[in-house]
């Protein structure tokens, strides 16, 4: 009963946040100078008026807002002005799976690299190996993706010829994109894993296990791993949202047609409905993953619930 109430209140919070985000985005986009029909070559004023009328931009802003919310409830995100002939729904349907795929691949890479390094560093605590691994991880966090991505492209694609350097269809460039994202997050995960593994490894039950003569590998993986990895699991939700939402740079560098590119281009094109649409998708994604994490944590640790 208490759990249900908690979930419902958390869900209500998320929905309220979503409404705020949609509202703020709607009005902020309209405040920016210029508009979707403004082109480098002037469009004659009578045509500008016609176009504004055609898409309802001549009505008062609150009316437009109400109409937008209405169509949003019906699941219609409106047309795109930057990609005429596609609706925002279609654009998101094409772009989101690609961003999602990139994000998931990045996450897998981040885990495959980050977790072993973290565990290894923990077992080598305070040795040269530990320090150098953690320094590399720190570097990985500090180096932005727009530096890493072109470097990976030059090295792995152009020098070594293992991958294609760009494009999506029939191309292997997506792996470089996923790798760039993965490397960045693997650094976080490595540090997170190391920290929590050290916590666990210092506890009494581990000492007991060791004293009983359990093999170190078994101690590490049977006794310590589960406890040590749980903060990483909690981090996966926000990390996935960040990976999917933050893929703009790798999409641009490797020419991948994900949603991140639309996110930026919509803003520069004043493509109002696409701005609102992409922001809504990312907002839902972030709110949803956070919601899942919160619920999962509450389920794991009742203290979170009672504090709420």
């Amino acid at each position: 009963m208490e759990a249900a109430r908690y979930i419902i209140s958390r869900l209500a919070q998320s929905l309220f946040a979503l409404l705020c985000i949609i509202t703020i985005t709607f009005f902020l986009a309209r405040l920016a100078p210029g508009g979707p029909f403004l082109e480098e070559r002037a469009v004659p004023p009578h045509l500008m008026e016609l176009m504004n009328a055609k898409y309802g931009f001549d009505r008062p802003l609150p009316v437009q807002y109400a109409l937008y919310l209405g169509s949003l409830l019906k699941g219609d995100l409106g047309p795109s002005f930057g990609n005429k002939g596609f609706s925002v729904n279609e654009i998101i349907a094409e772009g989101f799976p690609i961003s999602f795929f990139l994000g998931i691949s990045g996450l897998v890479i981040a885990l495959v690299i980050g977790v072993p390094i973290g565990i290894f560093a923990a077992t080598k605590r305070n040795t040269g190996v530990d320090y150098s691994l953690m320094t590399i991880a720190m570097l990985g966090i500090c180096l932005p993706t727009f530096v890493i991505a072109p470097l990976l492209g030059e090295l792995l694609a152009l020098k070594l010829g293992w991958f294609d350097v760009a494009l999506w269809e029939g191309s292997t460039a997506w792996f470089l994109g996923a790798l760039t994202l993965g490397l960045y997050y693997s650094a976080y995960i490595a540090r997170l894993t190391r920290g929590s593994m050290l916590d666990v490894l210092n506890q009494d039950f581990i000492r007991t296990a060791r004293a009983k003569g359990v093999a170190p590998v078994k101690v590490l993986f049977k006794h310590a791993f589960r406890g040590g990895i749980s903060p990483v699991v909690a981090y996966l939700g926000p990390a996935l949202a960040g990976l999917i939402g933050g893929s703009f740079v790798v999409e641009t560098v490797f020419g991948l047609p994900g949603l991140g590119q639309h996110f930026i281009k919509a803003a520069t094109n004043r493509d109002y409905w696409l701005i609102n649409g992409t922001v809504t998708v990312f907002a839902v994604l972030i709110l949803f993953t956070n919601f899942l994490v919160d619920v999962a944590q509450a389920w794991l640790d009742p203290r979170t619930r009672s504090r709420d």
Partner: protein
Amino acid sequence: MIRLRRPIKQGYVTDLPLFGLAWLCIVIAVVTSGCRKESKVDVATRDKILLLGNGSEPKALDPHIVSSVGDSNILRALFEGLVTNHPESAVIHEPGVAERWESNEDFTEWRFHLRKNARWSNGDPVTAHDFVYAYNRILAPEMAAPYSSMLYFLKNAEAFNRSEIEDFAEVGVKAENDHLLVCTLESPTPFFPDVVKHTTWLPVHRPTIEKFGSMTEAFTDWQKPGNHVSNGAFELEDWRINAVVKVRRNPYYWDAKTVKLNGINFYPIDNVFTEEKAFRNGLLHYTYVLPNNLTPIYRERNDPALHMQPFNGVYFYRCNTEQAPTDNADFRRALAYAINQKTIVEYITKGDQLPAYGFTPPTKGGYDPPHIIKHDPEKAREFLRKAGYESGTDVPEFTVIFNTLDAHKSIAVAIQDMWKRTLGIEKVRIENQEWKVYQQTVLDQRYDIARAAWIGDYIDPTTFLGMWRTGDSNNNTGWSNAEYDRKYAESFFIPDPEERFKVLREAETILLTEAPVLPIYWYTRVYLLHPDVQNWNSLLLDNIPYKYIDLKGAN
């Protein structure tokens, strides 16, 4: 058998080699799968598929709602207009759907005789009615086509577009029969065949448009792969947003035997550095652009892929002629003569751009603008004194705005420095603005000096000079000169091209002397082209007719 237990060391991980092995497997798998003998371009050359970088994602594949150069590159493959582009010369007209055409004596009525074997990609014949329908569609006010003003050459087209007349029958375009299209014009236009090459004059397939909505609905599914019907050398095969537009050979095209390629893939790659890397990686036959800081590298090693060709565009600064200090023509002239265009071209743009001595780019075998603008520090200082300034330090502060881009910034900084050195003007601010903000600022004329560019729609000086008429929607400088307007209008009534150019040259002389604009350079197209690509000629409008392009491997 007794197994000896290995000594246990604190923190020793026995399975470490396992991790290593797993990683080695991944690396080997990647290396072996990555080893390709042939690049994508080699395969595509063999299959006769041309792989082109094409800048931004096309806004649409409907000729009535797009206007950008990138979009028209794709439209040119899909559609064919009445008159089309010659593979070797920008000034020769190549027959398209029209086999031949003639005009009356004063160039106000043009009769286009359509070939009988022209077909849509679904097999339907292309008729004069398709053109009438298309022009009705683009001019219909409910369509709100942003580029409909390109058709204002037709009699009553503007009035119809402005809803001043209701009946399209009054607009100057008629299908006399299936194969004769008659265009009646608002005023004499000797260069009309050049005008109809523009993508806004392309036909559309009525049954297809109306299958997916009404004539004037802009956002329908007719442009989607599988639905799209076109009449050019190619038809639409696939379109994935931000990924690729694929066209393949149109079997019904009347001149299909001339078409050498089996298809073209257009890749929208916004990032110019990514595009260059894709070319080096063997993923593209052609890059849409080459960033100016990479040009010297290709030039130094004499790379055969590097191409630089004149392009029908001008880079210039607009002056606001309605407020001080740029309201003074002598002051504007001083600014113009103080700009060392050669330095900008050599050290900043680096792509063989031409210092602009006029506004309209010169056409080989066509119009050459008057030679007026040049770098002349003495003259510049003289004009500054004439403008009433003892020295540059007396000039009030003014601002140069440009849309955010490194190249624009470098040029603005260089010009700021030139004005300071030559004229002693200290208080020049430079300011970048985001693209749409900049456009709005220029439109509202809330600037002192603004960076600008203009790409001609067709080969004729009127596409450059028309915008400086009083009140033209692209003028945006507040400049107005009755004599200029008169000469421009007069030019339309002169049948002899040489005589006509003479009058236009006189008009342009007024423009350059009054200097509401400071011309800086004439564009070139700088790009990379794979040696496999045949018959790709340098054209001033860069509108390569794809049907002549061939692909031949080196071996």
